[in-house]
Symmetry: C2
Subunit: 224 residues, 2 copies
């Protein structure tokens, strides 16, 4: 079920039906959300029971990488060709409306549908591992102790092509019923964001190792 | 598939297999995560395709409530008795290890399996709506314009019993290979938390409406 055109990942299955004005299908929006997020929620079914598991990921071009232990039920199920749904959600705020009905949240989310393929070539696997590490902390890969072949062999890496997806975005203040604006009820937005606190050095850290800039100045890339 | 005993929500299907030391099954831990979280990710399958959709929720005793439009594909699918998986994840930090293999994240997550039942009685529906509103902002329900019957009728509320679930928790610093502690590589944790910024009053807010304490002092309930 390919998308309608090269720049949009919209398909019948990824068309936002509830509140369609919030639907976005262009790669720029989808990529920005995927690149800011840190965990995705992976949906797959085993014996008819849907499971939703949080895990790290990285986007690299038109590919979403997942990784983990070859013993993981989730990864084994996906590697065997099961259909998968992957969702990344950024929570941006609580929309404090004057009625329960219009109370809401500001968020940006991406829903991806597809199937996963194991990444088997050593070079592509290394490439994916670098993407996964640098997605969380850009620049970290080059500072790490080099990955060993036994570690690479003990890691299952999966690639999901970004072919069928949609984003859903809500921004702004409450949209109340016309009559309710006169009521003596506070309304507005409580903005929320995932923020870093002061880094904690490992207790076993050797002295004279300076905190790298990518840790002391840690922040997510925000593109809206 | 009921849980093993009244206080634990562990079943064969919710037993954490990967890194079993991170598994938690007691209600206290599960409830604390559910009560701190603001969105859940709901997994369900349509024509064999798993979908994962972010949405608000509330826990009330042994029940997880979801709500939304009766036109929602997700809610309709669940109301029809489809098996559902619901996951709540709190991201607590990036674990900056000395190798890619031990790089990780600190998190607390809950996976719930079950089926949903529509809440139809007016009183129980009102009770659920109050729980959903007050889960996001404790105390807000009493300040809202009273909900109208037409709004209540236009809202589908679902209840999922907390019968089969597990939590998974990672805390603390990196656990590196013994030899790697001698390397001149910084390691530690970048703590992360979802934090509120200064509330933004609605531009259409009437003057002389003070910001309520539950907004100006907004914070999530943290129990660890």
């Amino acid at each position: 079920m390919p998308a309608d055109d090269a720049r949009s990942l919209r398909t019948r299955r990824t068309t936002v039906k509830r509140l369609p004005k919030r639907g976005r299908y262009e790669r720029e929006t989808i990529d920005a959300i995927l690149d800011e997020g840190m965990i995705c929620h992976v949906g797959f079914a085993v014996d008819g029971q849907p499971f939703v598991i949080p895990t790290g990921y990285a986007r690299d071009g038109d590919t979403l990488y997942l990784h983990g232990s070859p013993a993981s039920r989730m990864l084994r199920s996906l590697a065997a060709g099961a259909s998968v749904g992957v969702t990344v959600t950024l929570l941006d705020g609580i929309v404090v409306a004057r009625s329960a009905f219009h109370s809401s949240m500001n968020y940006r989310s991406v829903v991806i549908l597809g199937t996963a393929t194991p990444v088997t070539g050593r070079d592509e696997k290394l490439h994916a591992m670098r993407a996964l590490v640098d997605h969380l902390i850009p620049g970290r890969w080059d500072d790490l102790r080099q990955i060993m072949d036994k570690e690479l062999n003990a890691t299952l890496v999966l690639a999901i092509p970004l072919r069928e997806a949609s984003a859903k975005v809500r921004t702004g203040g409450p949209l109340d019923d016309e009559d309710d604006y006169e009521l003596p009820i506070w309304a507005g937005v409580v903005p929320l964001s995932l923020r870093p606190a002061e880094p904690l050095a490992d207790e076993q850290l050797r002295t004279r190792i300076a905190t790298p800039d990518y840790v002391s100045g840690y922040r997510r890339p925000v593109r809206r």
